[in-house]
Structure formats: structure tokens, C-alpha cells
Amino acid sequence: MASHGVRRVTANQVRTEQARQKELQQITEYKDLVDLVNTKCSYKIAEIQYTIEVLALTTKLLTENPEYYTIWNHRRRILQQLFTPPSASDSSIPPSADKSVLDFVSDDLRFTFSLLKQFPKCYWIWNHRRWALKAGESLLQTSIARQLWLAEFELVGKMLRADSRNFHAWSYRRFVVAQLERIPASSDMTGSSTDADKSMVEAEFAYTTKMIKTNLSNFSAWHNRSKLIPRLLDQRQADEIARRKMFDNELSQIDVAINTDPWDQSIWYYHQFLMSTLSPTNPRDSAIMLELNNHDRLRYYEQEIGGIRDILEDETDCKWIYESLLQYAPFYLEIEGGTKMFTTLDMREWLSQLRRLDPLRKGRWDDLERSLSL
């Protein structure tokens, strides 16, 4: 009911009678399976059959249709039942064929992994993985639970190698990292470890560096980096010199990237992020430098505006250059010390270039012209 990227079949490619009969047969088989699972799991009847056999039926059905969320719910209810060993007083529940909680959780991780390879964007599969791990964790030894999360961390790395922009995979990575930070490694189970020992922020920062080196256009990686740097600096208890060094390194890195390929949107967005941290109203939780005065700010604006203008010598048809110049110009003018590095005439020229190169956003350039009083 919501398909993406599937080519349309034209009206004259109607099904043959044979194909129709085959499809009707498939429908009957599918509906029979649905009815069977729902009957066995329906909580309206007194004797719900939460058994290994019914669990296997949900596996079969979810393999055919992983979007069927109610079946995932059934599966979780079955597993919750199977996780609890039958008490001697209650002989109505059959034993779980000697399978341990770890066996069940491992099976579900394998099962959902095979589904994710086919359906990497299906919310319900990702959800079920989270649930299986969380439910397992509450019943397993901490060291085993940690092993499972570590394996999960490996897996999400694989998923991101396959599609480095997969939205679900990036969210899931942040989630798994948070779990690993929550559960300490066995060596520091004594409780002597500090938050910094458990934190993975350094490793995650290094991971974004690796991802960006592979592909500069990976905005997901740049985004994660923008969230990690403020945390990283706080955790390192970085002084102002170290903070400035971090900022300068990031800026020179992104300046090189801009010079290499000024057409890449992702790079400009990261540049904007860095520049946005210069603002006096920048929130503390996304701060890089903490002690900035207007002199510092002016120096950075001058340096960046100058650097971006230099690219114009080789590249006059890239709209991002003009857009950035006009974006940073007002900040510069707000604290400008008298020695203007550009004139209103320059700004008018940048704007007319923008209009020429980017007519789609004409309304925006009209508004910009008004707001800058050009």
C-alpha cells in the first residue's frame, strides 16, 4: 500500500487465467496460515497456545510478511511465556524443549537479521530486535548480555557498510552504543569505573572519521560527528586551548573538502554547523569553544568568508559558494570592526549569481534581498 521504486505494469499486461489461479492459491495458503496463528494466539479464547510450535508458525508468517505488526506482538507474548520455566504446580504449560533464554534470544537475533537483509527499512523488525535484546538482558547474566550487545554493534557496522545512509541503522547504532555504555565490561564490574571509562564517544568519533574518509558526501556521518564533538570535549575535560584546536582542525579539514568539491551539499552543511557554534546564542550542549569574544568571532568570519571567496577564482557556477557567503555576511557585519572586507555591491553581486544559478528558489532570494536590505 506504500511502495517505493517498483516499476509500473501497464494495463495490457493483465494476468493470465493461469497466473490468476496461482495467485488465488497463494492467497488461500497465506490466509490459512494467518488464521491458524491468530486462532492459536487470540487472547479471547481461554486456552492460548503459547508453544514452540506456535512460535515456529509466527516465524513462517513473518518471513512472508514482516510488516504484520500484530504477529510480532504475538511472538513477543509467546517468548515471554517461554522465557518463564513452567512451575511444578502448573503442568498445563509444556516445557520449552530445554531451550534456554539465551537460545531463544539468539534464534530471534538470527531470524530478524535474515529479514533485515531483505527489508532493511522495516520498522517492526528493528523494534523486535531491540525488544529481544532488552528482554533477554533482564534474564541473562550481565556478561552474556554485554556479549549480545557487542555482537549487535558488529552487525550495525555491517549494515552501515551496505548502506551508509540507512536512517534506521544510524539510529540503531546510537541506541546500541548507549546500551554498551550503560553495561560496563566485566573487568570494571567492581564499580570502580568512571563514566569516561565506559564511554564510547572517542571510538564513535573515530568511526565518523573513517566513514567520512570513505565518502565525503555522507551527511549522516557528519551529523553524528556534530553531536559527538561537544560530548567528546566535555569528557576529555578539554581546556580552551584544546577546544580551539579541535575547532581549528575541523574547520581546516572541511575547508580542504570544500576546495576539493564545492558541489557537495553535505560538506557545506557541516561547515554551517561549525560556524553556528560561533554564535553567542549557541546552546551549551552543542558548544565547541566556550570562551569566545567578538574579536575571535570576527577573525573566524573573515577567515572563512575570505577562503570561500577564493574558490570563486576557479569556480563561478557553484551556488553553494554564494549562498554561504550571504549566510555568513550578516554575522560578520553585526560585529564588523570598521575594515569591511566586502561591500553591499559585492553582496548584490552574490545575490544576482544565486538568482542566475538557482531559479527554483527565487522566492527565497527575494526574501533574502529584503532581509539584507539590498
Binding site: M1, A2, H4, Y30, E67, F167, F219, S220, K362, R364
Partner: protein, 340 residues
């Protein structure tokens, strides 16, 4: 079959427009009406878990096309009520578990059909029950909302909760300030919002966060120029819109991006004419319906968001859409006005 709209409606002058600018209204109506007759296709059964939302998409598309009676009102109402659970939530179809997503669709359909009175007749205290179900899904530590008892949280559910509760006139059942604070935590430097704190900006999530802020009366928290700039960059040369930088265009983003721009008063920052052409190009001119991209398979999801996108950019003859709710503006005005 005539290409003009039903009696009493002016404006749609299809047969005088060049082919590429025509909206095939009757084809789309037929397509939507045919959706429930496709029981001999496996796809019909494989998508049962979306049925109630599919009904909301189809019904809304018909209303925007000016054919509010395109589906039999009583049958629609019967089906909606058959999805309701004792706890006040709705599943996607009878026998499917209750979930926030389908509860929102149910409320949107009831509002569109002006059927809250009939809800009370069929289920005493029904309105309150639905409100209580939605309110029970608010996470009282973070302010966000879960989709169901299993606890997955997402700004999609937060928006849905505020959408449905406002239509029901029951916003006071939840902690709005805490929900607003949560949205603030999902904000990014580019002016956009993600699924949860720390997540990358994404046009779909931006729609949910901006619309939720709009319902909460807190659009003052949005950096309109920054967000408007980011959203406007989603338009590609072919006129279509994408959801994130370096991604492909897709008709459903015509809605997520353009409605967000409309809510912050920046819709004129993209080229409406080119967007119109792109959306129209995604129609199936023979059998009706819209696809994600030209030449692809149509579905009712892209059909409603394609038509709603056209309505936003004022395609002649279409009923005006409310960018906050993706419902006809006259419907939301009636529902929200009645409750004041």
C-alpha cells in the same frame, strides 16, 4: 468518462489543459474506489496491517478531489468501529492489535465524516476512551509518545497523539509542555528535527515536529529561515522533493516538505510550478493513482500525498488542505471550531 469534476464544482478544466498538466480526477476516484475490490490479489492481503490508514488516505484523497461521497459513509464507519479495542485504541483491521498509528487514522476518519456523535452512540464514552488510550502512551519521563504497549518511541507518535487529541478536544489529557520540550531536544543545528534526540534531520520527522509545535501553539520555537532554507534545498532540478541531502525525489516528500514550508510561511521558497509538474508526472493516466516517481507502481499512500501536495500549491479545483493535519481545511476548522 468525463474528465471534469462532479456537478457543482468549477475550476478543474482538464480537457483544456495540455496533457502533462492534467489531473485525472475520475481515474483517481475509480482507483481509490477499486482498492477494496482487489481481494483476488495477494497484495491486498499482505497489506491488511495498513488497512485503516489506507482508508484514511483514500477518503482524504477523495475529499480533496471534491468527491466526499466517493466511499459509502456507513460502510466506512462500520469498518472503523470494527477496528476499535476495549482499551480505546484501534488496530489496522479487525483482529489486529491496537496501535497509535491506526488510532490516529480512526480519529481522522471520524472527524472527516463528522461522526463523533455516532461514535458516542455506538460506544458510550468512546471519545474519552480513545483520548485515554492515547494519553496512556505518553512517556512521563521524556514527554514523547510510544506507538503501543511495546514501547517504541518516535516523534511520529508524538505528532499523531497531538493531532488526534486536538481533533477530539482532549489535549488537556497529556503534558503538552513536556512534549514540546522533547521536540526541542530533537532539534538540530540545521533547523531540522530527527526521530529522537541525536537523530539526523529528516523531512518526514520535520513535518511531525513542526505540525506538533503548530498544534501546541509553539511555532515561535522554530528557526523559520534556517529550517525554510534546509527544506527549500530539498527541491531538485526535476521539481521533485527529497527527504534528506543527496537522496532521490519522491512524491510523498511533496507533502512532508511542502506542508512544513507552508506551516512556517515559506512555501514560496520552492518552485510550485515545477513541483506541480513533477507530481502530475507520477500519475497513472490510465488506471489512476500516484507513484513515488514517474513510471512506478501506484499506491494509495502516494496518491493522497500527491493530491495533498497539489492542493497545497493551489492546483485549480482541488479542495484546500490543512498543512498541519493532512485533512481538508473545512473539516479541521469544523472539528476544532466545534470544540472551542
Amino acid at each position: 468518462m468525463s474528465l471534469v469534476s462532479g456537478p457543482g464544482r468549477g475550476g478543474i478544466t482538464d480537457d483544456r489543459l495540455p496533457h502533462e498538466l492534467r489531473l485525472f480526477v475520475d481515474k483517481h476516484v475509480c482507483y481509490i474506489q477499486s482498492l477494496d475490490t482487489r481481494k483476488d490479489e495477494l497484495e491486498y492481503w499482505l497489506t491488511e496491517h495498513l488497512r485503516l490508514s489506507g482508508l484514511y488516505w483514500g477518503l482524504t484523497a477523495l475529499h480533496l478531489l471534491g468527491r466526499p461521497d466517493g466511499l459509502p459513509r456507513n460502510e466506512v464507519l462500520d469498518f472503523v468501529m470494527s477496528c476499535m479495542h476495549d482499551n480505546g485504541g484501534f488496530g489496522a483491521a479487525p483482529g489486529h492489535d491496537a496501535h497509535m498509528l491506526y488510532t490516529i487514522s480512526a480519529v481522522q476518519i471520524l472527524a472527516t465524516l463528522d461522526a463523533f456523535g455516532e461514535l458516542e452512540e455506538r460506544v458510550g464514552g468512546g471519545r474519552q476512551k480513545i483520548g485515554q488510550y492515547i494519553a496512556s502512551l505518553q512517556d512521563t519521563t521524556t514527554g514523547t509518545f510510544a506507538g503501543d504497549e511495546w514501547g517504541e518511541t518516535d516523534t511520529r507518535f508524538l505528532y499523531g497523539a497531538l493531532n488526534a487529541l486536538s481533533l477530539l478536544g482532549l489535549l488537556d489529557l497529556v503534558n503538552i509542555n513536556q512534549a514540546v520540550e522533547h521536540i526541542q531536544e530533537c532539534a538540530n543545528f540545521d533547523g531540522g528535527y530527527g526521530t529522537s534526540p541525536g537523530a539526523e534531520s529528516h523531512a518526514g520527522q520535520i513535518f511531525t515536529c513542526v505540525a506538533a509545535l503548530s498544534i501546541a501553539g509553539r511555532l515561535d520555537l522554530v528557526d523559520r529561515d534556517k529550517l525554510g532554507g534546509w527544506l527549500s534545498e530539498r527541491q531538485l532540478k526535476n521539481g521533485g522533493l527529497n527527504g534528506r541531502p543527496e537522496k532521490k525525489e519522491d512524491v510523498c516528500y511533496s507533502w512532508w516538505v511542502a506542508s512544513s514550508l507552508a506551516m512556517i510561511g515559506r512555501l514560496h521558497w520552492i518552485d510550485a510550478e515545477k513541483l506541480t509538474k513533477f507530481i502530475l508526472n507520477c500519475q497513472d493516466p490510465e488506471l489512476g493513482g500516484f507513484a513515488d516517481r514517474p513510471g512506478n507502481m501506484v499506491d494509495v499512500f502516494h496518491t493522497v500525498f500527491g493530491i495533498a501536495g497539489l492542493s497545497l500549491v493551489k492546483y485549480a479545483g482541488l479542495v484546500e488542505v490543512d498543512p498541519v493535519y493532512c485533512m481538508p481545511l473545512a473539516v479541521t476548522k469544523r472539528a476544532l471550531g466545534k470544540l472551542k
